[in-house]
Amino acid sequence: MIAEPITLIKQDGSIRSDEALKLDVGNIDGAGLFRDMVMARRVDTEAIALQRQGELGLWPSLLGQEAAQVGAARALQPRDVAFPTYREHAVAWCRGVDPVDLLGLFRGTTLGGWDPTANNFNLYTLVIGAQTLHAVGYAMGIVRDGDVGTGDPDRDRAVMVFLGDGALSEGETNEAFVWAAAQNLPVVFFCQNNQWAISAPYSVQSRVSVAQRAEGFGFRGVRVDGNDVFACLAASKQALDIARSGNGPTLIEALTYRRNPHTTSDDDGRYRSGAENDEWAALDPIDRFRRYLESTGQLDDALLAQIAEEENLLAERLRSGCRSLPNPSAESPFRNTYAELPAELDQQMTEHIAFVEAGE
């Protein structure tokens, strides 16, 4: 029976230790994690502004979920592969994806935006839960490559797939759990339970906690405070180690809160109260971590100023980068549909280009 989410950093910034979840906090680059969360939040803020200016059609905000994503992402080794949903902008940041590349999908210049193999960060998947099966298949590939349980850190690798609380109701997600458990696959399911699937609160999806669902399928479930970057990091490291060593999958529930609406098109005032949001604002992950860092002397004014400067440069780059994103060519859908352009599609493309050019 899984009860309260595990916390390692208390609200006042002090550390608590936990029997189940160990983390050598002295050996962690705390300032780095802080920077990651701050920068990711700034990407998010700028993207919302860009949407309001009409530069993006839509943006799904991650406000409030920075600790969950940075904690998970910083547990990944370079050769591990991450499968995001469409909200993992902080994971993208940690994986080294240029944040400008995240914008194209929402600007309408692309349906993808980056090379998944460059940073082992798959494209965003908009069909809820579909990526859980891709992650499972990829993990099957890793097993067949022999890159599990060798003990060699340069060989062993795992897959981490991100999903939300809503995805747990999709059949395919549950099928992914079946496969992962039955085949003991090296996959970590990292669920940010931000408690809302558009207007559906978690109670619409399930009567038991996310983490508890794993037990029914026959694998490990862990419940952590999703606003605690250390708890998320520790749980992710632990789960990834278990996966890489050949000891199977884990479902991590990072209990957090979606502070902004589902996307910029959503009107969340219609279904939830501002009071609930205020409660969770008081539990802000960046504020809490800041208190920890300041109390341990890891964050001083100089560093804060440096990060603020970096933030502003990033914001500027996002704005100009967004506007500079190239429109796809009229030929591109035709050329991209198949590995080689079939004769008929070539003909359709020719007709289409003639039509487009005649209109110019």
């Binding site: 349906l111 069909v127 099966l133 395919e172 991209n336 008929e344």
Partner: protein, 328 residues
């Protein structure tokens, strides 16, 4: 070891094709329900798990979405998965993965991700089966941009085409006419295969072009033989590729014959017959001596098996169709 020319059923030709593909490329693997220990409910994968092991011939959990979604992930990891969907009627749980993911990944990623997945599906009726075991779902796939859709009608084609499908960089829906699984014919393992996207003229003729695919090809050939005895020369074309469609071969034929009849088991409305008819009227309009005739399944769900013989387009209905064309 390859033999020159052997007579074998389609199921064996497929088995051999799969075996040779797996021997040639260690990344080729199979997944599906009951394909390993059992060798598949139609025995198409018989002996393959024994030969290649359970990691390469995977007995999957019971879930078609998992089979296809898992295959997509395997393809991303560099493997070449060949999925088996046990029966046509059970492909529908996999439709989300097929249509929103498999068909679209190459396009979505602007060519960065290829998903060389083959999905083998036994299709069609005429086997006295219960519900969901006699479907013809090809139109759903042909309508989905990003998929290739093919259907062999003979053992030679089955052997050639499964190899080509596996080597294709595109996702291929590989439809196998199940009532023909045990039909034997000659297979030359060494012949150069015909391209996957080409139709095949399986009988030359001058008076009418009869286009079909899968299990109806032998029926069409029988019809052509009867017509020949009655003084009409029928050209029978096996479509082979349902997406893309080999327009050129069809149009060239109708330009000579002036008449077209398309036959398929699938329901009439929005079936492949409509697509073929549209293309041919567009490309060979002035050559047409009669309206294009379609002989198809009716617009009902597939009936109880006691009714299927009359429901399915067969020899009699195809001959009626030929007569209707010649009434003009």
């Amino acid at each position: 070891m390859n033999q020159a020319m052997t007579k074998m059923p389609i199921a064996h030709a497929l088995n051999l094709g799969l075996r040779h593909a797996m021997e040639a490329d260690s990344k080729v693997m199979l997944l599906g329900e009951d394909i390993g220990q059992l060798g598949g409910v139609f025995r198409v994968t018989d002996g393959l798990q024994k030969a290649f092991g359970p990691e390469r011939v995977v007995d999957s959990p019971l879930g078609e979405a998992g089979i296809v979604g898992g295959a997509i992930g395997l393809a991303m990891a560099g493997y070449r998965p060949v999925c088996e969907i046990q029966f046509d009627g059970f492909v529908f749980p996999a439709m989300n993965q097929i249509i929103t993911q498999l068909a679209k990944y190459h396009h979505r990623s602007e060519g960065t991700i290829t998903v060389p997945v083959v999905i083998r599906i036994p299709v069609g009726g005429g086997i006295g089966a219960i519900e969901h075991h006699s479907e013809s779902p090809e139109a759903y796939f042909a309508h989905t941009a990003g998929l290739k859709v093919v259907c062999p009608s003979s053992a030679q084609q089955a052997y050639d085409m499964i190899g080509l499908a596996i080597r294709s960089q595109d996702p291929v829906i590989f439809l196998e006419p199940k009532r023909s699984y045990w039909a034997k014919s000659n297979v030359d393992l060494n012949r150069t295969p015909q391209a996957l996207d080409k139709a095949e003229i399986v009988r030359k003729g001058d008076d009418l072009t009869l286009v079909t695919y899968g299990a109806l090809v032998p029926v069409a050939l029988k019809a052509a033989e009867i017509c020949h005895e009655e003084g009409r020369s029928i050209e029978v074309i096996d479509l082979r590729s349902l997406s893309p469609i080999d327009d050129a071969t069809l149009i060239q034929s109708v330009e000579r014959t002036g008449r077209l009849l398309v036959a398929h088991e699938a329901q009439r409305t929005a079936g492949l017959g409509a697509e073929v008819a549209s293309r041919v009227q567009e490309g060979a309009f002035h050559s047409l001596l009669a309206p294009i005739i379609r002989v198809t399944g009716y617009d009902t769900p597939y009936p109880p098996s006691r009714l299927e013989e009359d429901w399915l387009p067969g020899l009699d209905r195809i001959l009626d169709g030929v007569d209707r064309s010649f009434a003009y």
